[in-house]
């Protein structure tokens, strides 16, 4: 099968998968009981409660309720958040964009740094640079994210004052329009260099906190994969052809070492989405974190379902991209199985 056909087929399956995910998500949230609780207040009498149930179709069978939910979701209506006292669709996007911006930025930094460190250590096997990198990797994998984030916060914000907390400087944020909700993108679209730098400055500490663990995993995987590839005969065969060491690494060993590493990178994406909530709380990042915590405690099912649905879709996309890169790197991968 051609790679292009494979991508098309995977994209066609995607809506089916999302539909399946939505059913599972709906069923799982409803196990917790009726979502009515979050909308009630003490002054309401039985008639008013019944009217609410009527309005949200909670008196109908579950299948019908799902149908109403699906119809709403398809038209961009994800229900009403009791916690935020507003429709989910109005509150969700800015917060989601804030969380996404942090996760994506951390992922890019973590992948880039992890691959670079892995190659750095793998090509200097058993030298001091390799040992030093191993120390970094082991600490990244073993330090709890919360602890590490707080230490960075104390040193670089409280003591040195080099980096801020929060997501933006208020007047800079207000000086540009926010069509996407991603501060960096909005700054680029507005052509405002100052706002863009402000965005990066605010992203720095939280994305290091969030990305450190992923850097550790990617570094270790890339290093061991590269060491393994460098021992293969084809590397010596490339040298025997007269290739400079630069090309032996770039075209042969490093490229092939990426194959197993890509799989690990796919897994770390999930890891990052998990950690984002903790990083947000440490750095007062205005993402989904706080809202989601409240939503879970107070049984705000509309909010929870939207969150789980969006992150699932993201995860499906991330996996698709990983699979495509994987197939592109390794021709032995049998597409379509």
């Amino acid at each position: 099968m051609q790679l292009r056909d494979y991508i098309v087929r995977r994209l066609m399956i995607l809506p089916v998968l999302i539909f399946g995910v939505s059913i599972v998500v709906f069923a799982l949230t409803r196990i917790g009981g009726s979502p009515i609780g979050v909308y009630l207040s003490h002054e309401m009498n039985a008639d008013e409660v019944a009217a609410l149930e009527e309005r949200f179709h909670l008196n109908e069978p579950l299948v019908v309720q799902y149908w109403y939910w699906l119809k709403g979701a398809l038209s961009g209506d994800f229900g009403y958040s009791g916690v935020a006292s507003a429709p989910v669709s109005e509150v969700f996007w800015p917060k989601f964009a804030a969380t996404m911006e942090l996760s994506v930025f951390s992922a890019i930094v973590a992948v880039w740094l992890g691959l670079w460190l892995g190659v750095f250590a793998g090509t200097r096997r058993n030298r001091w640079q390799d040992h030093l990198t191993r120390v970094v990797a082991v600490s990244g994998a073993s330090l709890p994210l919360f602890w590490f984030g707080i230490v960075l916060l104390i040193v670089f914000w409280a003591n040195l004052g080099w980096f801020p907390v929060g997501r933006s400087t208020a007047d800079l944020w207000a000086s540009i329009p926010h069509p996407t909700g991603f501060y960096t993108l909005d700054a680029i679209l507005a052509g405002n260099v100052q706002a863009f730098l402000d965005a990066l400055w605010h992203l720095f500490l939280p994305s290091i906190t969030l990305g450190f663990g992923a850097v550790a995993i990617i570094t270790r995987m890339m290093r061991s994969a590269l060491v393994e590839e460098l021992q293969q005969d084809y590397v010596d065969a490339a040298r025997a052809k007269g290739l400079p060491e630069r090309l032996v690494l770039k075209r042969h060993a490093r490229r092939n070492a990426l194959v197993p590493t890509i799989t690990v990178i796919g897994l770390t994406i999930a890891f990052l989405m998990q950690g984002a909530i903790a990083a947000e709380i440490i750095y007062r990042w205005p993402g989904l974190g706080r809202w989601m915590a409240d939503a879970v405690v107070r049984g705000d099912q509309a909010t929870i379902m939207t969150y789980v649905l969006f992150t699932s879709v993201l995860f499906l996309f991330a996996n698709l991209i990983v699979d495509i890169i994987y197939a592109k790197l390794d021709p032995r991968v049998r597409l379509g199985d």
Partner: protein, 415 residues
């Protein structure tokens, strides 16, 4: 070329007293311990011995591909005189003893700086590896892997064929030059498909493809255009080894190191690959160091043979001499073992025991504990090479007479 012409051909490459040691947990492994031999222009020299005798390490020395660490070169030289190399400084190209009458400057491959070494690798000295399934990169097409040889060593020809003259300057010519040398930058690759660069770049690609297809056709690969687009796992073992041979011959090298090129292949196609190597070697008059643990193969294709045991040369001579009159007990054992099946891997039917571990070995003949003729002196000192016939030497105390001659320094010992 017959064996009788051999001594007259100039020496193109020579190993002198090569010593390679590997650091291991158990100690210092003397994998190659004073090996010396010469390779003449246009000859096929066999290097035989059981597995673990140090044949591959010796062969890799010609390309300076011994992994350091764990290995270290404890001594010796690997000399090479490429055809058409710089003139000999001693005789200004007239031909003298120092350059083996080739008139070409002698280089020591073990101390050559990386850049001139890379110019030799793949162009003047090439290697065919034991297992083509491992020596080809699984994630690149055959065409891309062969193209690399031409991009490294034939970029001037490629540029000429693409219509870029050497005088031409300007960013387009420079971008094409970078592409032809595999030094292209990110921007070059982006611009490659766009006018005005695209037509010249397409010509460059076409020239490259033509070279690759011609190289593949040379090794009788059917349908080279299809094979170029294939990945190694889509080809059979025999086809892959043909690709390796095509790659080794691509730049018409002076010397090919063939390290057990048929060992990993199906028995049914071993003979065909062997014949192919022999045919191409004859046609191009290339020198080949043919490494094998199988004496019968060496007998079939080689002009001369060096028998190696436990890091040292045991016997060397023309194929006729060594097979008609094997002098060294190890050679005799090898010849007696030839027809039996299931040998190799350090076991020979006619010689009990196996290759000793070479960790800090004591003085004496390495073969002593397996030799039926062992004498007291064999374990006291190292035997020296003695000439038993012109060009035929045996390194054994059984040779009481004959001129002593270390095979390493038999001819050009004046340098």
């Amino acid at each position: 070329m017959t064996a009788h012409d051999m001594p007259k051909a100039p020496v193109i490459a020579e190993v002198r007293d090569l010593r390679v040691q590997f650091d291991s947990k158990r100690g210092n492994v003397h994998a190659v311990d004073g090996v010396g031999f010469q390779i003449r222009d246009g000859e096929m020299l066999g290097l035989v011995g059981e597995t673990g005798c140090g044949k591959s390490v010796t062969g890799r020395a010609f390309l300076n591909l011994i992994p350091r660490p764990p290995a270290k070169i404890a001594g010796g030289r690997v000399l090479f005189r490429p055809r058409g190399g710089a003139p000999c400084p001693d005789c200004a190209g007239e031909g003298c003893e120092a350059c083996g009458r080739t008139g070409t400057e002698t280089v020591d491959l073990l101390t050559l700086p990386p850049k001139p070494m890379r110019a030799i690798r793949g162009a003047r000295i090439a290697m065919i590896f034991q297992d083509p399934g491992k020596a080809l990169n699984p994630t690149l097409t055959i065409g891309a892997q062969l193209a690399e040889v031409f991009l490294q060593h034939r970029s001037e020809a490629l540029l000429a064929e693409a219509g870029v003259s050497p005088e031409e300057t300007g960013w387009q010519a420079n971008a094409l030059r970078r592409m032809a040398r595999e030094e292209d930058r990110w921007l070059d690759r982006r611009l490659k498909g766009l006018p005005p660069l695209s037509s010249a770049a397409a010509k460059l690609d076409a020239a490259l493809d033509a070279h690759v297809a011609a190289a593949l056709a040379e090794t009788q690969i059917p349908n080279p255009a299809r094979v170029m687009r294939a990945y190694p796992h889509e080809l059979s073992g025999g086809m892959r080894q043909r690709v390796m041979i095509a790659q080794a011959l691509a730049c018409d090298p002076d010397l090919i190191i063939a390290d057990e090129p048929t060992t990993a292949l199906d028995v049914t196609i071993q003979a065909r690959i062997l014949d192919l190597i022999k045919t191409l070697q004859r046609k191009r008059r290339t020198s080949v160091l043919y490494i094998s643990h199988d004496l019968s193969l060496v007998r079939r294709v080689c002009d001369r043979v060096a028998v190696m045991y436990a890091g040292r040369i045991a016997e060397i001579g023309t194929v006729a001499q060594v097979f008609a009159d094997p002098r060294h007990p190890y050679t005799q054992g090898l010849i007696a073992a030839v027809p039996r099946a299931g040998t190799g891997r350090g076991h020979l039917a006619s010689i009990p025991g196996s290759v000793p571990e070479l960790v800090d070995p004591p003085p004496g003949c390495r073969f002593a504990d397996r030799c039926a003729h062992v004498m007291a002196e064999c374990t006291r000192a190292n035997p020296v090479a003695r000439e038993v016939a012109p060009g035929h030497q045996s390194v054994c105390f059984l040779e009481k007479t004959g001129q002593t001659a270390a095979p390493a320094t038999s001819e050009a010992s004046t340098t």
